[in-house]
Protein backbone atom coordinates (compact mmCIF):
# COMPACT_ATOMS: atom_id res chain seq x y z
CA UNK A 1 0.00 0.00 0.00
CA UNK A 2 1.15 3.49 -0.76
CA UNK A 3 1.96 5.70 2.17
CA UNK A 4 0.05 8.48 0.40
CA UNK A 5 -3.43 7.21 1.16
CA UNK A 6 -4.84 10.67 0.49
CA UNK A 7 -4.42 10.04 -3.27
CA UNK A 8 -7.43 7.72 -2.93
CA UNK A 9 -9.58 10.41 -1.35
CA UNK A 10 -11.34 13.30 -3.04
CA UNK A 11 -12.90 13.24 -6.48
CA UNK A 12 -16.42 14.48 -7.24
CA UNK A 13 -19.09 13.50 -4.73
CA UNK A 14 -21.63 13.23 -7.59
CA UNK A 15 -19.50 12.55 -10.71
CA UNK A 16 -22.25 12.45 -13.36
CA UNK A 17 -23.82 15.82 -12.59
CA UNK A 18 -20.73 17.62 -11.33
CA UNK A 19 -18.67 16.74 -14.40
CA UNK A 20 -21.61 17.84 -16.59
CA UNK A 21 -21.72 21.15 -14.75
CA UNK A 22 -17.96 21.71 -15.10
CA UNK A 23 -18.04 20.71 -18.76
CA UNK A 24 -20.83 23.20 -19.53
CA UNK A 25 -18.70 25.96 -18.01
CA UNK A 26 -15.73 24.78 -20.09
CA UNK A 27 -17.86 24.71 -23.25
CA UNK A 28 -19.18 28.18 -22.52
CA UNK A 29 -15.65 29.31 -21.71
CA UNK A 30 -14.25 28.03 -25.02
CA UNK A 31 -17.19 29.51 -26.92
CA UNK A 32 -16.71 32.87 -25.16
CA UNK A 33 -12.97 33.23 -24.60
CA UNK A 34 -12.02 35.32 -21.60
CA UNK A 35 -15.25 34.77 -19.70
CA UNK A 36 -14.38 33.81 -16.12
CA UNK A 37 -16.18 30.82 -14.60
CA UNK A 38 -16.13 29.53 -11.03
CA UNK A 39 -16.26 25.83 -10.16
CA UNK A 40 -18.74 25.31 -7.31
CA UNK A 41 -17.98 21.68 -6.56
CA UNK A 42 -15.01 20.44 -4.59
CA UNK A 43 -12.67 18.15 -6.46
CA UNK A 44 -10.80 17.01 -3.35
CA UNK A 45 -7.50 17.44 -5.17
CA UNK A 46 -4.13 17.34 -3.38
CA UNK A 47 -1.92 20.44 -3.12
CA UNK A 48 -0.59 22.25 -5.05
CA UNK A 49 -3.31 21.54 -7.67
CA UNK A 50 -6.12 24.12 -7.65
CA UNK A 51 -9.81 23.27 -7.39
CA UNK A 52 -10.62 24.32 -10.96
CA UNK A 53 -7.63 22.42 -12.39
CA UNK A 54 -8.59 19.35 -10.36
CA UNK A 55 -12.20 19.56 -11.52
CA UNK A 56 -11.08 19.93 -15.15
CA UNK A 57 -8.91 16.81 -14.82
CA UNK A 58 -11.83 14.83 -13.37
CA UNK A 59 -14.14 16.11 -16.13
CA UNK A 60 -11.99 15.59 -19.23
CA UNK A 61 -9.16 13.13 -18.53
CA UNK A 62 -9.35 9.34 -18.75
CA UNK A 63 -7.33 6.38 -20.06
CA UNK A 64 -7.43 7.89 -23.58
CA UNK A 65 -5.63 11.09 -22.56
CA UNK A 66 -1.96 10.96 -21.51
CA UNK A 67 -1.27 13.79 -19.05
CA UNK A 68 1.95 15.77 -18.67
CA UNK A 69 2.70 17.46 -15.36
CA UNK A 70 5.06 20.36 -14.73
CA UNK A 71 7.98 19.84 -12.36
CA UNK A 72 6.18 21.17 -9.28
CA UNK A 73 3.21 18.84 -9.80
CA UNK A 74 5.46 15.87 -10.63
CA UNK A 75 7.09 16.10 -7.21
CA UNK A 76 3.72 16.01 -5.45
CA UNK A 77 1.03 13.33 -5.30
CA UNK A 78 -0.99 15.06 -8.06
CA UNK A 79 -0.03 12.42 -10.64
CA UNK A 80 -1.07 9.50 -8.45
CA UNK A 81 -4.31 11.27 -7.55
CA UNK A 82 -5.18 11.89 -11.21
CA UNK A 83 -4.26 8.33 -12.10
CA UNK A 84 -6.48 6.89 -9.41
CA UNK A 85 -9.50 9.12 -10.04
CA UNK A 86 -9.45 9.53 -13.82
CA UNK A 87 -7.44 6.56 -15.08
CA UNK A 88 -5.20 8.87 -17.07
CA UNK A 89 -1.60 7.78 -17.56
CA UNK A 90 1.26 10.21 -17.03
CA UNK A 91 3.74 10.90 -19.77
CA UNK A 92 7.14 12.59 -19.75
CA UNK A 93 6.84 13.31 -23.47
CA UNK A 94 5.14 16.68 -24.03
CA UNK A 95 4.25 15.71 -27.60
CA UNK A 96 2.21 12.71 -26.42
CA UNK A 97 0.19 14.69 -23.87
CA UNK A 98 -3.45 15.51 -24.60
CA UNK A 99 -3.54 17.57 -21.40
CA UNK A 100 -0.74 19.35 -19.60
CA UNK A 101 -1.03 20.82 -16.11
CA UNK A 102 1.33 23.63 -15.14
CA UNK A 103 1.65 24.94 -11.57
CA UNK A 104 1.60 28.64 -10.67
CA UNK A 105 4.87 30.43 -11.25
CA UNK A 106 6.42 27.65 -13.34
CA UNK A 107 8.72 28.90 -16.08
CA UNK A 108 7.28 28.40 -19.55
CA UNK A 109 9.99 28.37 -22.19
CA UNK A 110 8.05 27.13 -25.17
CA UNK A 111 4.80 25.56 -26.36
CA UNK A 112 6.84 24.02 -29.16
CA UNK A 113 7.25 20.56 -27.68
CA UNK A 114 3.57 20.17 -26.95
CA UNK A 115 1.58 18.69 -29.80
CA UNK A 116 -0.04 21.32 -32.04
CA UNK A 117 -1.84 18.58 -33.99
CA UNK A 118 -1.25 18.11 -37.69
CA UNK A 119 -2.50 20.17 -40.60
CA UNK A 120 -4.94 17.33 -41.44
CA UNK A 121 -5.90 16.65 -37.80
CA UNK A 122 -5.43 19.88 -35.84
CA UNK A 123 -7.68 18.52 -33.08
CA UNK A 124 -4.89 16.15 -31.97
CA UNK A 125 -3.28 18.92 -29.96
CA UNK A 126 -2.43 19.46 -26.32
CA UNK A 127 -4.69 21.48 -24.03
CA UNK A 128 -2.61 23.30 -21.39
CA UNK A 129 -4.11 24.01 -17.99
CA UNK A 130 -1.98 26.75 -16.44
CA UNK A 131 -2.43 27.99 -12.86
CA UNK A 132 -2.05 31.75 -12.33
CA UNK A 133 -2.32 33.87 -9.18
CA UNK A 134 -5.71 35.43 -9.89
CA UNK A 135 -8.31 36.03 -12.59
CA UNK A 136 -10.51 39.12 -12.70
CA UNK A 137 -7.86 41.34 -11.11
CA UNK A 138 -4.40 42.56 -12.06
CA UNK A 139 -2.97 43.41 -15.45
CA UNK A 140 -5.52 44.06 -18.16
CA UNK A 141 -5.44 42.28 -21.52
CA UNK A 142 -7.63 42.77 -24.58
CA UNK A 143 -8.94 39.66 -26.33
CA UNK A 144 -10.49 39.36 -29.78
CA UNK A 145 -11.43 36.56 -32.15
CA UNK A 146 -14.27 34.07 -32.68
CA UNK A 147 -16.67 33.97 -29.73
CA UNK A 148 -15.95 37.59 -28.83
CA UNK A 149 -18.10 40.46 -30.02
CA UNK A 150 -15.50 43.06 -31.11
CA UNK A 151 -13.19 42.83 -28.09
CA UNK A 152 -13.16 41.79 -24.46
CA UNK A 153 -10.92 42.91 -21.67
CA UNK A 154 -9.76 40.51 -18.94
CA UNK A 155 -7.60 41.00 -15.89
CA UNK A 156 -4.99 38.38 -15.03
CA UNK A 157 -2.46 38.32 -12.19
CA UNK A 158 0.63 36.17 -12.51
CA UNK A 159 0.53 35.29 -16.19
CA UNK A 160 3.88 33.63 -17.00
CA UNK A 161 6.31 36.20 -18.36
CA UNK A 162 6.85 34.58 -21.74
CA UNK A 163 3.16 33.81 -22.27
CA UNK A 164 2.27 36.63 -24.66
CA UNK A 165 5.28 35.89 -26.87
CA UNK A 166 4.52 32.15 -26.88
CA UNK A 167 0.88 32.87 -27.67
CA UNK A 168 1.83 35.17 -30.53
CA UNK A 169 3.89 32.28 -31.96
CA UNK A 170 0.97 29.89 -31.50
CA UNK A 171 -1.62 31.93 -33.43
CA UNK A 172 0.02 31.81 -36.91
CA UNK A 173 0.12 27.99 -36.78
CA UNK A 174 -3.67 27.93 -37.20
CA UNK A 175 -5.42 25.53 -37.69
CA UNK A 176 -2.69 23.83 -35.66
CA UNK A 177 -1.87 25.07 -32.18
CA UNK A 178 -2.37 24.45 -28.48
CA UNK A 179 -5.40 25.60 -26.48
CA UNK A 180 -5.00 27.04 -23.00
CA UNK A 181 -7.17 27.11 -19.89
CA UNK A 182 -5.97 29.53 -17.19
CA UNK A 183 -7.00 28.52 -13.68
CA UNK A 184 -6.78 30.36 -10.37
CA UNK A 185 -8.18 28.47 -7.40
CA UNK A 186 -11.84 27.88 -8.22
CA UNK A 187 -12.01 30.11 -11.27
CA UNK A 188 -10.87 29.57 -14.83
CA UNK A 189 -11.00 31.12 -18.29
CA UNK A 190 -10.38 29.56 -21.69
CA UNK A 191 -8.11 30.73 -24.50
CA UNK A 192 -8.74 28.69 -27.66
CA UNK A 193 -6.02 28.97 -30.33
CA UNK A 194 -8.14 31.45 -32.33
CA UNK A 195 -8.01 34.16 -29.65
CA UNK A 196 -5.73 37.16 -30.12
CA UNK A 197 -4.31 38.74 -26.96
CA UNK A 198 -2.99 42.29 -26.68
CA UNK A 199 -1.50 43.60 -23.43
Amino acid sequence: MSANTHVFTGGFSDPVFQSQSVFRMLMDGMARPGSVHAVEHDAGQPDPLGTAAGAIALTLCDHDTPVWLSAGFSKSSVGEWMGFHSGASLTREKAEARFAFVEAGAALSSFGLFSPGTQEYPDRSTTLVIEVAALGEGQSFTLSGPGILQSKSVEITGLPEAFLRLWADNRPLFPRGVDVILTAGRSFLCLPRTTKIVA
Binding site: V16, Q20, T65, D123, S125, F174
Partner: protein, 294 residues
Protein backbone atom coordinates in the same frame (compact mmCIF):
# COMPACT_ATOMS: atom_id res chain seq x y z
CA UNK B 1 -33.11 9.44 -9.14
CA UNK B 2 -36.24 7.40 -9.74
CA UNK B 3 -36.09 3.62 -10.00
CA UNK B 4 -37.14 3.43 -13.64
CA UNK B 5 -34.10 5.48 -14.67
CA UNK B 6 -31.69 3.16 -12.89
CA UNK B 7 -31.14 1.00 -15.97
CA UNK B 8 -29.57 3.89 -17.89
CA UNK B 9 -26.95 6.42 -16.96
CA UNK B 10 -28.20 10.02 -17.00
CA UNK B 11 -28.80 11.04 -20.65
CA UNK B 12 -28.31 7.45 -21.88
CA UNK B 13 -24.57 7.61 -22.73
CA UNK B 14 -21.97 6.20 -20.36
CA UNK B 15 -19.54 8.66 -18.75
CA UNK B 16 -16.49 7.64 -20.80
CA UNK B 17 -18.41 8.25 -24.03
CA UNK B 18 -19.54 11.64 -22.78
CA UNK B 19 -15.97 12.61 -21.91
CA UNK B 20 -14.79 11.59 -25.39
CA UNK B 21 -17.55 13.61 -27.04
CA UNK B 22 -16.99 16.55 -24.68
CA UNK B 23 -13.30 16.67 -25.61
CA UNK B 24 -14.27 16.61 -29.29
CA UNK B 25 -16.72 19.49 -28.74
CA UNK B 26 -14.07 21.65 -27.04
CA UNK B 27 -11.60 21.09 -29.91
CA UNK B 28 -14.38 21.74 -32.44
CA UNK B 29 -15.10 25.12 -30.81
CA UNK B 30 -11.37 25.96 -30.78
CA UNK B 31 -11.11 25.26 -34.54
CA UNK B 32 -14.32 26.76 -36.01
CA UNK B 33 -15.68 24.79 -38.95
CA UNK B 34 -13.17 21.93 -38.69
CA UNK B 35 -14.67 18.41 -38.53
CA UNK B 36 -13.39 16.57 -35.44
CA UNK B 37 -13.55 12.77 -35.75
CA UNK B 38 -15.21 11.06 -32.78
CA UNK B 39 -16.08 7.49 -31.80
CA UNK B 40 -19.78 7.64 -32.58
CA UNK B 41 -21.85 5.09 -30.66
CA UNK B 42 -24.78 2.92 -31.62
CA UNK B 43 -27.88 4.73 -30.48
CA UNK B 44 -31.33 3.25 -29.93
CA UNK B 45 -32.53 4.77 -33.20
CA UNK B 46 -31.43 4.28 -36.81
CA UNK B 47 -28.77 6.35 -38.56
CA UNK B 48 -30.46 9.23 -40.32
CA UNK B 49 -32.67 9.91 -37.31
CA UNK B 50 -30.23 12.30 -35.77
CA UNK B 51 -27.86 10.00 -33.87
CA UNK B 52 -25.08 12.60 -34.13
CA UNK B 53 -27.23 15.41 -32.78
CA UNK B 54 -28.59 13.13 -30.06
CA UNK B 55 -25.07 12.19 -28.89
CA UNK B 56 -24.02 15.85 -28.79
CA UNK B 57 -27.17 16.82 -26.86
CA UNK B 58 -26.75 13.86 -24.46
CA UNK B 59 -23.17 14.94 -23.71
CA UNK B 60 -23.97 18.57 -22.94
CA UNK B 61 -27.42 18.37 -21.32
CA UNK B 62 -27.91 18.77 -17.58
CA UNK B 63 -30.86 18.68 -15.19
CA UNK B 64 -31.36 22.47 -15.41
CA UNK B 65 -31.64 22.55 -19.20
CA UNK B 66 -34.83 23.15 -21.16
CA UNK B 67 -34.83 21.23 -24.43
CA UNK B 68 -36.60 22.04 -27.69
CA UNK B 69 -36.43 19.69 -30.68
CA UNK B 70 -37.49 20.66 -34.18
CA UNK B 71 -37.73 18.75 -37.43
CA UNK B 72 -37.90 21.00 -40.52
CA UNK B 73 -39.01 23.80 -38.21
CA UNK B 74 -41.84 21.81 -36.66
CA UNK B 75 -42.08 20.70 -33.03
CA UNK B 76 -44.74 18.10 -33.75
CA UNK B 77 -43.35 15.84 -36.46
CA UNK B 78 -42.16 12.26 -35.84
CA UNK B 79 -38.44 12.88 -35.50
CA UNK B 80 -38.90 15.84 -33.15
CA UNK B 81 -41.49 14.08 -31.00
CA UNK B 82 -39.46 10.88 -30.60
CA UNK B 83 -36.17 12.63 -29.76
CA UNK B 84 -37.94 14.89 -27.27
CA UNK B 85 -39.57 11.84 -25.68
CA UNK B 86 -36.17 10.09 -25.61
CA UNK B 87 -34.60 12.85 -23.53
CA UNK B 88 -37.63 13.11 -21.25
CA UNK B 89 -37.21 9.42 -20.56
CA UNK B 90 -33.43 9.11 -20.16
CA UNK B 91 -32.57 12.56 -18.75
CA UNK B 92 -35.85 13.64 -17.17
CA UNK B 93 -35.34 17.21 -18.47
CA UNK B 94 -37.87 19.96 -19.02
CA UNK B 95 -38.96 20.35 -22.64
CA UNK B 96 -40.59 23.22 -24.46
CA UNK B 97 -41.76 24.19 -27.92
CA UNK B 98 -41.04 27.90 -27.33
CA UNK B 99 -37.76 28.98 -28.90
CA UNK B 100 -37.16 31.74 -26.35
CA UNK B 101 -37.54 29.39 -23.34
CA UNK B 102 -35.11 26.72 -24.57
CA UNK B 103 -31.47 26.47 -23.47
CA UNK B 104 -30.67 23.67 -25.95
CA UNK B 105 -32.40 23.42 -29.33
CA UNK B 106 -31.76 20.27 -31.33
CA UNK B 107 -32.67 20.81 -34.95
CA UNK B 108 -33.08 18.86 -38.11
CA UNK B 109 -32.60 21.21 -41.04
CA UNK B 110 -33.95 24.57 -39.86
CA UNK B 111 -32.84 27.49 -37.71
CA UNK B 112 -35.71 29.03 -35.72
CA UNK B 113 -37.09 32.33 -37.07
CA UNK B 114 -36.76 33.99 -33.69
CA UNK B 115 -33.27 35.37 -33.11
CA UNK B 116 -31.29 33.08 -30.80
CA UNK B 117 -29.72 34.62 -27.72
CA UNK B 118 -26.51 34.33 -25.72
CA UNK B 119 -26.52 31.18 -23.62
CA UNK B 120 -28.60 29.15 -26.07
CA UNK B 121 -27.02 26.19 -27.87
CA UNK B 122 -28.24 25.05 -31.29
CA UNK B 123 -27.44 21.38 -32.02
CA UNK B 124 -27.72 20.36 -35.68
CA UNK B 125 -28.32 16.83 -36.91
CA UNK B 126 -25.99 16.36 -39.87
CA UNK B 127 -26.25 13.57 -42.47
CA UNK B 128 -23.09 14.28 -44.53
CA UNK B 129 -20.68 16.70 -42.82
CA UNK B 130 -18.14 16.92 -45.65
CA UNK B 131 -19.06 19.74 -48.08
CA UNK B 132 -16.55 18.39 -50.62
CA UNK B 133 -17.78 14.79 -50.49
CA UNK B 134 -19.82 14.85 -53.73
CA UNK B 135 -16.90 16.49 -55.51
CA UNK B 136 -14.21 14.16 -54.13
CA UNK B 137 -15.25 10.81 -52.62
CA UNK B 138 -11.91 9.99 -50.92
CA UNK B 139 -11.64 11.08 -47.29
CA UNK B 140 -7.82 11.23 -47.54
CA UNK B 141 -8.16 13.75 -50.36
CA UNK B 142 -10.85 15.96 -48.83
CA UNK B 143 -8.85 16.09 -45.60
CA UNK B 144 -5.81 17.21 -47.59
CA UNK B 145 -7.93 19.84 -49.37
CA UNK B 146 -9.09 21.25 -46.01
CA UNK B 147 -5.51 21.13 -44.70
CA UNK B 148 -4.22 23.13 -47.67
CA UNK B 149 -7.29 25.40 -47.78
CA UNK B 150 -7.73 24.20 -51.38
CA UNK B 151 -11.34 25.00 -52.15
CA UNK B 152 -11.05 25.69 -55.87
CA UNK B 153 -13.13 22.62 -56.69
CA UNK B 154 -16.09 24.03 -54.76
CA UNK B 155 -15.89 27.29 -56.70
CA UNK B 156 -15.73 25.33 -59.97
CA UNK B 157 -18.91 23.50 -58.90
CA UNK B 158 -20.69 26.79 -58.22
CA UNK B 159 -19.38 28.20 -61.51
CA UNK B 160 -20.66 25.17 -63.44
CA UNK B 161 -24.06 25.73 -61.84
CA UNK B 162 -24.09 29.23 -63.29
CA UNK B 163 -22.82 28.05 -66.70
CA UNK B 164 -25.57 25.39 -66.94
CA UNK B 165 -28.49 26.97 -65.07
CA UNK B 166 -27.70 30.67 -65.18
CA UNK B 167 -27.57 30.83 -61.39
CA UNK B 168 -26.17 28.93 -58.39
CA UNK B 169 -28.82 26.23 -58.17
CA UNK B 170 -27.95 24.91 -54.68
CA UNK B 171 -30.88 25.74 -52.42
CA UNK B 172 -30.00 23.79 -49.27
CA UNK B 173 -26.74 22.66 -47.62
CA UNK B 174 -25.27 25.74 -49.26
CA UNK B 175 -21.53 25.80 -48.45
CA UNK B 176 -20.21 28.46 -46.08
CA UNK B 177 -16.75 29.64 -45.04
CA UNK B 178 -16.26 29.91 -41.29
CA UNK B 179 -13.99 32.61 -39.83
CA UNK B 180 -12.27 32.95 -43.20
CA UNK B 181 -10.72 29.47 -43.07
CA UNK B 182 -12.76 26.25 -43.26
CA UNK B 183 -15.47 25.58 -45.83
CA UNK B 184 -18.31 23.93 -43.93
CA UNK B 185 -21.58 22.19 -44.69
CA UNK B 186 -24.30 23.95 -42.69
CA UNK B 187 -26.30 20.65 -42.76
CA UNK B 188 -29.24 20.54 -45.20
CA UNK B 189 -30.86 23.71 -43.93
CA UNK B 190 -32.44 25.85 -46.66
CA UNK B 191 -30.01 28.55 -47.79
CA UNK B 192 -32.63 30.95 -46.40
CA UNK B 193 -31.16 30.18 -42.95
CA UNK B 194 -27.48 30.75 -43.84
CA UNK B 195 -27.45 34.46 -42.88
CA UNK B 196 -28.72 33.52 -39.38
CA UNK B 197 -25.50 31.57 -38.74
CA UNK B 198 -23.36 34.65 -39.30
CA UNK B 199 -22.39 36.41 -36.04
CA UNK B 200 -25.04 34.45 -34.14
CA UNK B 201 -25.27 35.10 -30.39
CA UNK B 202 -25.75 31.36 -29.80
CA UNK B 203 -23.21 28.54 -29.91
CA UNK B 204 -23.82 26.19 -32.85
CA UNK B 205 -22.78 22.52 -32.60
CA UNK B 206 -23.05 19.97 -35.41
CA UNK B 207 -23.16 16.19 -34.92
CA UNK B 208 -22.96 13.55 -37.66
CA UNK B 209 -23.46 10.09 -36.13
CA UNK B 210 -23.00 7.79 -39.11
CA UNK B 211 -20.06 9.82 -40.44
CA UNK B 212 -18.56 10.21 -36.93
CA UNK B 213 -17.83 13.92 -37.06
CA UNK B 214 -18.49 16.86 -34.73
CA UNK B 215 -17.96 20.49 -35.69
CA UNK B 216 -18.89 23.87 -34.30
CA UNK B 217 -19.35 27.57 -34.90
CA UNK B 218 -18.69 29.70 -31.79
CA UNK B 219 -20.89 32.76 -31.14
CA UNK B 220 -19.98 36.03 -32.91
CA UNK B 221 -18.14 34.22 -35.68
CA UNK B 222 -18.08 35.10 -39.35
CA UNK B 223 -20.03 32.64 -41.52
CA UNK B 224 -20.01 33.65 -45.19
CA UNK B 225 -21.93 31.84 -47.94
CA UNK B 226 -19.69 31.20 -50.95
CA UNK B 227 -20.53 33.21 -54.06
CA UNK B 228 -19.09 35.35 -56.87
CA UNK B 229 -18.95 39.14 -57.16
CA UNK B 230 -21.24 39.10 -60.20
CA UNK B 231 -23.43 36.29 -58.83
CA UNK B 232 -23.86 37.23 -55.17
CA UNK B 233 -25.44 34.87 -52.67
CA UNK B 234 -29.22 35.29 -52.46
CA UNK B 235 -31.78 33.71 -50.16
CA UNK B 236 -35.19 32.40 -51.22
CA UNK B 237 -38.03 34.92 -51.25
CA UNK B 238 -41.74 34.19 -51.12
CA UNK B 239 -44.48 36.16 -52.87
CA UNK B 240 -47.13 35.00 -50.44
CA UNK B 241 -47.46 35.60 -46.71
CA UNK B 242 -48.11 32.73 -44.30
CA UNK B 243 -51.75 31.65 -44.80
CA UNK B 244 -52.28 31.19 -41.06
CA UNK B 245 -50.37 34.01 -39.36
CA UNK B 246 -49.65 36.41 -42.22
CA UNK B 247 -45.91 36.43 -41.54
CA UNK B 248 -43.73 37.90 -44.26
CA UNK B 249 -40.02 37.31 -44.79
CA UNK B 250 -40.02 33.88 -43.12
CA UNK B 251 -39.42 30.44 -44.63
CA UNK B 252 -42.69 28.94 -45.90
CA UNK B 253 -43.79 25.37 -46.63
CA UNK B 254 -46.11 24.71 -49.58
CA UNK B 255 -49.04 22.47 -48.67
CA UNK B 256 -51.18 20.96 -51.45
CA UNK B 257 -54.83 21.09 -50.41
CA UNK B 258 -56.75 19.24 -53.15
CA UNK B 259 -56.35 17.83 -56.65
CA UNK B 260 -57.58 21.01 -58.35
CA UNK B 261 -54.40 23.02 -57.83
CA UNK B 262 -55.36 24.36 -54.40
CA UNK B 263 -52.41 25.09 -52.18
CA UNK B 264 -51.38 27.13 -49.21
CA UNK B 265 -48.09 28.47 -47.86
CA UNK B 266 -47.51 28.24 -44.12
CA UNK B 267 -44.61 29.00 -41.78
CA UNK B 268 -42.15 26.13 -41.57
CA UNK B 269 -41.37 27.23 -37.98
CA UNK B 270 -44.50 26.09 -36.11
CA UNK B 271 -43.62 27.84 -32.85
CA UNK B 272 -43.13 31.17 -34.64
CA UNK B 273 -46.49 30.75 -36.41
CA UNK B 274 -48.39 29.81 -33.23
CA UNK B 275 -46.80 32.66 -31.30
CA UNK B 276 -47.83 35.17 -33.95
CA UNK B 277 -51.42 33.87 -34.02
CA UNK B 278 -51.59 34.12 -30.22
CA UNK B 279 -50.59 37.75 -30.57
CA UNK B 280 -53.49 38.41 -32.94
CA UNK B 281 -51.80 38.12 -36.33
CA UNK B 282 -54.11 36.52 -38.85
CA UNK B 283 -53.28 35.15 -42.29
CA UNK B 284 -55.50 35.04 -45.40
CA UNK B 285 -56.96 31.58 -44.76
CA UNK B 286 -57.81 32.15 -41.10
CA UNK B 287 -59.36 35.59 -41.59
CA UNK B 288 -62.80 34.44 -42.93
CA UNK B 289 -63.19 32.01 -40.01
CA UNK B 290 -62.56 34.78 -37.53
CA UNK B 291 -65.18 36.99 -39.17
CA UNK B 292 -67.70 34.13 -39.06
CA UNK B 293 -66.98 33.60 -35.39
CA UNK B 294 -67.68 37.24 -34.63
Amino acid sequence: MSADLATYNFAYLDEQTKRMIRRAILKAIAIPGYQVPFASREMPMPYGWGTGGVQVTASIIGPEDVLKVIDQGADDTTNAVSIRAFFQKVADVAVTTHTKDATIIQTRHRIPEQKLTEGQVLVYQVPIPEPLRFLEPRETETRKMHALEEYGLMHVKLYEDIAINGRISKTYAYPVKVDGRYVMDPSPTPKFDNPKMHMSDALQLFGAGREKRIYAVPPHTEVVSLDFEDYPFEIQTFEQDCALCGAHGVYLDEVVLDDKGGRMFVCSDTDHCEDRREHGHVGAMLAPNQEAAE
